[in-house]
Amino acid sequence: MSPVVPPPAVALGVLLPVLVVLAAAAVVLVLDVLPPRDSKAHLGGVALAGIIGALLAIVMRWGTDARAFRDMVLLDTYALYFDLVICYAAALIVMFSMDYLGRTGSESGEYYSLLLFSTAGMMLMASAGDLIVVFLALELMSLSLYVLAGFFKQRLTSGEASMKYFLLGAFASSFLLYGIALIYGATGSTNLDRIAAAAATRNAEPMVLIGLAMMLVGFGFKISSVPFHMWAPDVYEGAPTSVTAFIATGSKAAAFAAMIRVLVVALRGAQPDWSALLWALAALTMTVGNVVALAQSNLKRLLAYSSIAHVGYMLMGLVAGGGPGPGAVLFYLLAYTFTTVGAFGAIALCARAGEEAVEVSDYAGLARRHPVLAATLALFFLSLIGIPPLAGFVAKFYLFGAAVRAGYIWLTVIAVLNSAVAAYYYLRVIVYMYMREPDGEPVAVAPSLAGGLALTLAVAGIVILGLMPAPFADLAQVAVAPLLR
């Protein structure tokens, strides 16, 4: 008779931030069917309250290093840092959504509860200490996002985006799952620490390496690294803009969280192998992202390629597999999230002739009519370029500095050249806003209180990060330090 396996200890405290979000999602679902049936405006407020509750839980739990469910779920500073980034993005996106959906008349309970479910999935990804949890959390996040991408049911492009995202996402998930299976086969465990212990003796085994390759394909899809990026522009363009913002920030942050933990903790033994691959992926991703962005006329597609390019920069920080690089990536994610959510949010506020204003030419002369919004959007673009004193500059500075210190001079040179290329397409939008005369019907902007507040928060974020980066950079380094030991 096999020995009796004791039931795992239930320590819900470790899941507290995730549970708060899930509870809020459930409340939203229930409230959705209760009166008032014709107005759903209050549901956004409930969702926002849930996220704020989760933020409080995160702050409360700060500094703990707890693990539960047989080390399947970890609540360490690393997870909490990502929870913070994800919840921040989610909060801003809920605020933008209240404005955006209210205007298109499509506010509903499902939207907010799905948003919360995917948030919970993202947070769980950051907490995953086991490959099974990584996969489950990733699916929870992804399935919710597939639906959200197609949320504008009457709009053909929205359905197309959802379908493409789902099909390719399922394809990528199968790679990930296959990789997990191979790793399990080679090491006999799905727990990250035990994989590390087992793999230490059998690094070069082909089964581990093929498993690693498969998992990288899966993660590469989620972070939209070249050549697994092709879904991104189509999905970003078709999905509702608020959902696009979440896909571009939250899901990327979560995928990075899981990927860094898997690579650095479980597969550290194979570091020379994945370093070389990440070098190539980083160079390829940033170059393709930036170069193709040059040829875009649709603002959402432009931002899609721009976000691909930013992933390229972030991969650069992981190439060394240690040192200040991973911390710089965490900081970069924070700065990137602040900026990108803000940029998509600002775009979501603009409409032209009843349609969303998404063509670059729609923004001609915006500064004349809406100087504040144009200035805000310009600030986000300047931060994406990396102009001081905004967040994007400091983030790039830390990241490039870390790469140089790790000895990757050529990769840094490629990144700097790429940054120069990137300045062109971002500045083009600013040129349109400030130096071109508007033609045809002007862009209408009607930000509500929630939208205005969210924009203010995002601007404050990039300015504060840019002017006083030190405390946040320290936070990022402290968060990632235990993993690198």
Partner: protein, 618 residues
Amino acid sequence: MSTVWLIPAFPLAGALTNIFFGRSTGHRAHWIAVPALGASFLFACAVAARVWSGAPFTTTLGAWIVAGDFETGITAYVDNLSAVMLLVVTGVGFLIHLYSVGYMHGDPGYARFFAYLNLFVFSMTMLVLAGNFLLLYVFWEAVGLCSYLLIGFWYTRDSAANAGKKAFIVNRVGDFGFGLGVMWLWTELGTLDYAAVFKGAATLSPATATGIALLLFMGACGKSAQLPLHTWLPDAMEGPTPVSALIHAATMVTAGVYMVARSHALFERSGSALEVVAWVGTATAVFAATIGLVQTDIKRVLAYSTISQLGYMFAAVGVGAYVAGIFHLVTHAFFKALLFLGAGSVIHGLHGEQDLRKMGGLASKMPITATTMWIGGLGLAGAPLLAGFFSKDEILGAALGTEHLGIFTLLLAGAFMTAFYTFRLLFLAFSGAPRMPRDVLQQAHESPWVMTGPLLMLSVLTVVAGFALGLPLDGSRFAHLLASVFHPHEGEHASVVVLLSLVVFGAGGLLAFYMYRQSAVKPEAIGQPRTWVHALLLNAWYVDWIYDRLIVQPIYVLSVALAQVFDVGVIDGIVNGLGRAVSAWGAGLRRLQTGYVVNYALTMLAGAVVVVAFFLAR
């Protein structure tokens, strides 16, 4: 958090309010700007009282830049020297703000003016408070920016816009050196904090210390308008007169003196750097005084006088008499601000007339202005028992005491010229028969109380400051106050110094009396070069002309050549070519994005195959 930060915080808040809400504050802008300065002054008094009765202290607002092994904070260092500077900046600043209410009344840029003025006081107090060289450098630049903005305040006037640019560019030359000095300091000592730097100065080799000190002094030459970077200050008189009084006489231009005195440990380590400071100061003092002898614009006389008096301050710190230098800085702030504000009052009363040749006989029309300006003028000229007498004598005494006979002689000659040009100005403006057109004369009027009030306050300070701070002659109260900052220097208050300075004061005054009061003034004769010496002085020794031919024109010609040939042809050609190539590449790659899911999936699969192959091939 220390209350120290409130001193700059009030003017900053005032500046931000008037920048962002200038449209609504409009002609009421002073209700924000003036009380902000008042509050700032009160807190400066509180901080000064605390430091004088206690010990110097350091307070940090937070970490500022942390990059690798470079770390610096937003730190204030407050000792008796910074307290004195704070009182001068906020106190004189307050009076000048008050005066501006009357002087700038009705100007379309009223709110903007007060916003800039507040911003300047914020920057200047931060400069004084800074506890490390980097913060000092940042606000060193910030006061330069404010100076630029205020010189070009009436930017629609070409001459004002050009003067602003000139001030900025000439200062860049000095600040380039200053920046290099700061960097060199860091590479040598690994820190920029005052305490650590001044302690570490002893470990520097004298040659290194000389290099660093001279680079820092380059910055001081720019900011304090010393030879050879003095040319911007006379042109800066294009700004409104309160600006000339506050920035270009009382406070900003003295930043260089403050910096050298503050860094005296570094300059002393070098030794020869101090000699350079002393000689540059002396040369400037005499050089500028000679030009002041013949100027016909009332503000330009005062501008050259300011350059000259700054030279005295540098001469003082150069011979190691830091207390004397700072003392002269303080008294000069009082009487020169007074003279500028008085000149502004005259200009205001004459509807913009600045030419001394078209003034005269104003004493009866503007009694308060005339009286207070006479007091300020006597203070500047070194009349016995007024502020300038004490501080200038201390400088002369120090030069003699440290056996710098050449410097002593030159400064004495400078004092003679100072007395002459000051009395000349006063006689030409206030005595004799009026020389302005009849309608201007009839409309000439005394200024309102907001303008005369500050004049009276500054006159009181000019009269009292000498007694209050300069006595007793051997070891004054002021020296006692700064004893914790500077070790005592060898001063000589030999009666011979007092006697000689009284003689040159009297001689200068009498000569001016003979030339401009006794004999009838022939306005058409003034300002007409009669001899080559006169022409040389009228043209300010042709320095601007020489700079223009030697530096500006060649650089301009070179720039045009580079811009039109090299930049357009080579650089733009490469950039545009590369840009086109990359864009074409992007357009090509874009075609891969077909929109078909199958293609996307196949790409992914191909990617996966490559990744696996990559791993297995290693």
